[in-house]
């Protein structure tokens, strides 16, 4: 049903946009939290969790008590949960989704007999496979019991299983093949799970006995934290890309300062220096009682030999450190590098990207396309006083000065990109010109007279040659 139709039926409806990425992040957090009931847990997107509780149930005093604890813990956090316990992940999934609440399948039970009443959807199959099975008349798990190979007539069962295997012979994925799913449920085929492993964020913090109110003390604390952070990162073989500094004030206020680094770094003095530039506007109030430094984004950075040559260490900074210092003061958007993009329109043929990112491969330039050294951000309109019969201006006025055109090369016609612009966009005829004093410009005429896309074409100055 469309949202508009639903609103027509029920005007009080509250609509919330879907957030699949946020849901997955929440599920990951839940999977880590669910490791309280077993050493391993795995995601079952979009809304399930698998926990391996082998040998852990006695800690809660039995499997029933364990399931009761799960229900209570989820209810305490406002989560609606259906839990089930079984020897295999497939059986537990089937029971949790289609079985009675808090169902437990013991290790000695016959799964086919106990789960026979569940629909075939309990096998975790894709929708199209379910449709095929429905057309074949297979509706419940008990209908598939005849192909399980455990029965009174092994020969007939093997023939039936063979027929089903031939039907799904092209389906290699477990979710598309009911026989594989059935074998997984009966634990005849191993089903590896991808466990979720917690990866704690590198963190260093200081709780201060006396709240600090002065800048030099704060600088000292930050440099201590940077040293701790560097040690933590070094043990993990990583370097920080993003660092967050949290300052807890006595009155409960939390101040957050965040810096991003151009390359992974593990240099305490560099980190301290970058934060020193961001701490100028901190209002300490009645004092800061706790300071925490976290590396919320870190990248592998191998241990390297420190410079043996003392002069090389003292002499100047590295490129990444220089870019960090510039971007902390000027903002991350200010430091860029120009890269060529696939377009003929001059302002689109050039993009700006972060300086240390790899340059994307691009097509080579044509040698006869002479481009100006500098391109104006917006092409400036020029007033053409007298145009020669060939089409280019002989005399024009730009920025209040009259210029006499002496030499011309052109036109170079650049058509609008019809796949991107409106159909009324006009083409451009570019001319390289040189005026009487030797100044070289790149001008263009937008459109041609009589192209049916506007009146008399305008002239613009777009670039300056060296």
């Amino acid at each position: 049903m469309l949202l508009a139709d639903a609103r027509a039926l029920c005007p009080q409806l509250a609509a919330v946009p879907a957030d699949p990425a946020g849901d997955l992040a929440l599920l990951e957090k839940l999977a880590l939290w669910a490791q309280r009931w077993g050493p391993w847990s795995a995601l079952d997107p979009p809304d399930g969790l698998l926990v391996d509780t082998t040998g852990a149930a006695h800690l809660w005093g039995g499997e029933e008590r364990l399931l009761a604890d799960v229900a209570a813990a989820c209810a305490a956090r406002g989560l609606t949960a259906r839990a089930a316990l079984a020897p295999t992940a497939g059986a537990a999934w089937a029971l949790a989704h289609f079985g009675p609440p808090a169902a437990i399948l013991g290790p000695g039970d016959d799964p086919l007999r106990l789960l026979g009443g569940l629909p075939v959807a309990a096998l975790r199959l894709d929708d199209d496979v379910l449709a095929v099975l429905r057309r074949l008349g297979v509706k419940r798990l008990s209908d598939l019991a005849g192909v399980s190979g455990e029965g009174d007539y092994p020969a007939a069962q093997a023939a039936a299983r063979d027929a089903l295997a031939r039907r799904f012979r092209n389906r290699r994925s477990p979710a598309a093949n009911p026989l594989i799913r059935l074998d997984q449920l009966l634990s005849r085929v191993p089903e590896p799970l991808l466990p979720v492993i917690a990866r704690p964020m590198p963190m260093a913090q200081r709780r201060l006995i006396e709240p600090i109110r002065h800048r030099d003390l704060l600088d000292r604390v930050v440099s201590d934290l940077a040293l701790d952070m560097v040690r933590t990162l070094e043990a993990r073989g990583e370097g920080a890309r993003r660092l967050e500094l949290g300052l807890w004030r006595v009155d409960g206020e939390v101040l957050l300062r965040r810096i991003e680094l151009a390359a992974a770094t593990r240099e305490a003095s560099h980190i301290t220096r970058l934060f020193a530039a961001r701490l100028d506007d901190v209002a300490a109030g009645f004092g800061i009682e706790a300071v925490q430094l976290r590396a919320s984004w870190s990248e592998p950075l191998s241990l390297s030999q420190a410079d043996l040559d003392a002069a090389a260490e003292q002499h100047g900074t590295g490129l990444a450190a220089c870019i960090d210092r510039l971007s902390v003061r000027l903002g991350p958007k200010a430091i860029t590098r120009p890269v060529a993009r696939a377009s003929h329109i001059p302002e689109r043929a050039q993009g700006w990207q972060a300086p240390l990112e790899p340059v994307p491969p691009s097509q080579g330039l044509l040698a006869f396309h002479t481009r100006p050294l500098k391109l104006l951000d917006r092409a400036e309109r020029i007033a053409v006083l007298y145009a020669s019969p060939d089409g280019y201006p002989q005399r024009f006025r730009w920025r209040g000065k009259l210029r006499e055109v002496v030499r011309v090369e052109g036109p170079e016609r650049i058509a609008p990109e019809w796949w991107r612009e409106r159909s009324t966009a006009r083409l451009r005829d570019y001319y390289r010109i040189e005026d009487a004093t030797g100044r070289r410009y790149w001008i263009y005429r937008q459109g041609i007279a009589g192209d049916g896309r506007g009146g008399v074409p305008d002239w613009f100055l777009h670039g300056l040659y060296a």
Binding site: G316, T317, C322, L330, A334, I335, W352, L373, L375, Y465
Partner: protein, 252 residues
């Protein structure tokens, strides 16, 4: 001891030629180029001087070419002259340019100083429009000292600025000059040529030159009238060969 000193002095005197010419070994670390904001000749001359210094400094150093070039502009300079265009840059600089768009002259000066401190930059080019209050003699002296200490060269382009107090070692006044006609299309603009006037230098006498950039080397162009006298004008070489051969015409 004294002989060593006098030898060094003689050497330094020999190295300090009074008349500047392109391709000198000891290029200054801090130069200023003044030009009008309506033309890109100052930026072009700065790039040409930088490439000339880089090629004459490191003879065939492959690792020299990997270093980046920092180009700092303040907002007014970007409004006046636009930003660098990657397709219009010299081919050896296209992939190693890092551009800093500073909002104020103070930020631009900070970026220049940080860039000079970085050992991974081949050179630093700055563009500052007008005479901002932040750019005093003290600031320019800071820039000179930083550049000399870290060995990174700085070319500071001053657009629409009056030549006020500065500690730059060489100060140029640049303007565009009519270019020589290209070989195959005499009506088209030719290779960029600048009229450069060295009006203040520590080691060289002031002078004026017509300069152009040819494959990374500064090229000294003769004055137009001299060139006309030196090179005889054969006119159009195609038409007279209809009746007589070119050799016969040259003999005649």
């Amino acid at each position: 001891m004294s002989s060593h000193l006098s030898f060094a002095r003689a050497l330094s005197r020999a190295r300090h030629e009074s008349r500047w010419r392109p391709g000198l070994a000891d290029q200054p670390f801090h130069s200023e180029i003044f030009a009008s904001g309506d033309e890109a000749s100052a930026a072009g001359l700065a790039l040409a001087l930088a490439r000339d210094a880089l090629t004459s400094q490191g003879e065939g150093g492959a690792e020299e070419d990997a270093r980046h070039v920092l180009w700092v502009q303040d907002r007014k300079a970007m409004q006046l002259g636009g930003r660098p265009c990657v397709q219009g840059l010299p081919p050896d600089l296209r992939h190693r340019l890092i551009h800093v768009a500073a909002a104020t002259p103070e930020d631009a000066l900070f970026a220049l100083e940080e860039g000079l401190k970085c050992r991974d930059f081949a050179c630093v080019i700055g563009e500052i429009a007008g005479n901002p209050r932040a750019l005093t003699f003290t600031t320019s002296r800071r820039l000179s000292l930083t550049a000399e200490r870290h060995g990174v060269r700085l070319w500071l382009v001053r657009l629409d600025a009056a030549p006020d107090l500065s500690s730059a070692r060489m100060r140029w006044q640049a303007r565009a000059a009519p270019s020589p006609p290209p070989r195959w299309n005499p009506t088209a603009p030719g290779t960029a040529t600048w009229h450069a006037e060295l009006f203040r230098a520590r080691r060289h006498a002031p002078g004026e030159w017509m300069l152009s950039d040819e494959n990374g080397h500064l090229h000294l162009r003769p004055e137009p009238d001299k060139r006309a006298a030196a090179a005889p004008d054969f006119g159009d070489l195609v038409r007279p060969t209809v009746g007589r051969s070119l050799a016969a015409r040259a003999r005649a």
